[in-house]
């Protein structure tokens, strides 16, 4: 049975492709009538070459100008640790560090990042040694389904760089850009406080 040889990701990708093809037929043309007027000489897809310093190594990419950093990571570079939740900056699942600062990869055009340093969840550990935040999330069981976890951890990594107060109230406010629909917040907060060394 070939399905046994499929990875979870390949299985999801293949089924998603079938499902979305049907969905496109169903909704094509809806909602376009009232969109802002199209520019008559709308350009063809435009590409840009960029080199991003990704997790410490330069990555040269040729990208459609519309490509978000999130899609560049997941679809072009196959770094699928960074998650796509809302794709609108509201959930934080795509949080990465750009030049050490946490940002939403879904709201960032990859072609604007030439020469910038991007750190994703894949670049956080040192070899086999977990980053203190990763270890603390395991120790405190700071997740249930795990989908928001890479974004939570990268956001917390940004937070630790910022030097904020680390009482529980402050951590909750400064982590407000990351939602967890399982509701693992108490454990997430404790994990971050422990990793800060100021719990």
């Amino acid at each position: 049975m070939t399905i046994r040889n499929l990875t979870r990701r390949e299985f999801l990708r293949d089924t998603a492709a079938t499902g979305s093809a049907a969905a496109v037929v169903g909704t094509a043309g809806l909602g376009k009538a009232l969109a802002a007027p199209a520019i008559m000489d709308a350009p063809q897809p435009s590409t840009r070459e960029v080199t991003i310093r990704l997790n410490g190594a330069d990555q040269a990419l040729q990208l459609d100008t519309r490509t978000t950093l999130l899609d560049a990571l997941r679809e072009e570079l196959h770094l699928t640790g960074t998650k796509k939740g809302c794709d609108m900056g509201a959930c934080g699942a795509c949080t990465v560090l750009v030049d050490g600062k946490r940002v939403n990869a879904c709201l960032t055009l990859a072609a604007r990042l030439d020469g910038r340093a991007v750190t994703t969840i894949e670049g956080l550990a040192s070899g086999e040694e977990l980053h203190p935040l990763q270890a603390a999330f395991i120790e405190h069981d700071g997740f249930q389904c795990g989908y928001c976890t890479p974004g939570q951890i990268m956001s917390a990594a940004g937070l630790l760089n910022e030097g904020r107060p680390m009482d529980a109230h402050s951590v909750r406010e400064w982590m407000s850009g990351n939602i967890c629909r399982c509701g693992a917040y108490p454990n997430i907060v404790e994990a971050i406080r422990q990793a800060s060394g100021r719990a």
Binding site: G31, I39, P43, G89, L109
Partner: protein, 326 residues
Amino acid sequence: MQPFTLDRGRDIADTIRRGRIAGTDYIAGGTDLMQLLKDDVRRPAHLVDLEGLDLDRITVTPKGVRFGAMVRMSAVADHPDVIKDYPVISQALLASAAPQIRNLGTIGGNLLQRTRCTYFRDTAAPCNKRVPGTGCGAIEGSHRTHAIFGGSRHCIATHASDLAVALVALDATVHLTGPNGARDLRLTELHLVPDDHPDIETMLHPGELILAISVPAGAWTRQSLYLKVRDRASFEFALTAAAVALDIQGGIVRAARVAAGGVGTKPWRLPAVEHALVGAPATAATWMRAGALSTAGAMPLRDNQFKVRLLQNTVTRALEQAGGQA
């Protein structure tokens, strides 16, 4: 998302030359524009990137503070002099969005963000702001979060920025440059109420660019505060908000600056409240009397009437917190 070219100008002059071409949008932090592009609300053929134009400085002098348009929201919120001497600005920013977005979003872009009205952001809905003449879905529809000041029969969308409310209260000026040269505009004059043209939101000419925003120093800026009321404790737009700045000497209010957020089709200055404060004793009775004047002229609709009382209470509470209770 429609395809677009993405380029940078060599300098500001070259940027403006590109920006005046029809179908061009500038992109600063991109936090709002990216959402509008993904939703097909904006469909530019060309994006001109404002990064790399040396517009990211904060300058503090005895005369005031000046923010380059590309300064990040987080950089202003964390600036020690802003926290100390202009706390209302830092507080308004920290009450805005979430940390990740504040690391992207810029001061200039924040002022020009588009309304959060769901009819505006849904291309299947009518909206006079997005496509003039298609009608307003909100006036008869879902308008719990919409404006009680400055609406017209064509549009009641609120201006979403917290920062703009704080800056309007502090008499900020925007420094512009464009195809017809440089000019300054008071921030209160930058945004327009919808009237018959909700699609025209600002006084900016095509291709015109905000280079910087300056805030004059004043005896009132230190004793200033931003209070925001929303449906959840963080990462949410305002239902009501108040920016207040007070100069109190010998128990008497010498000067006051007050503006409201979440309630106007543009950042809404409250001169009647300021007038009631000046010369009055810094007491709870004064704060309450002034707060009650905050909704003079309000025109609430079916589902946003709660904002009238809520704004009065928000302004009163903000004055109490900033001015103390003598």
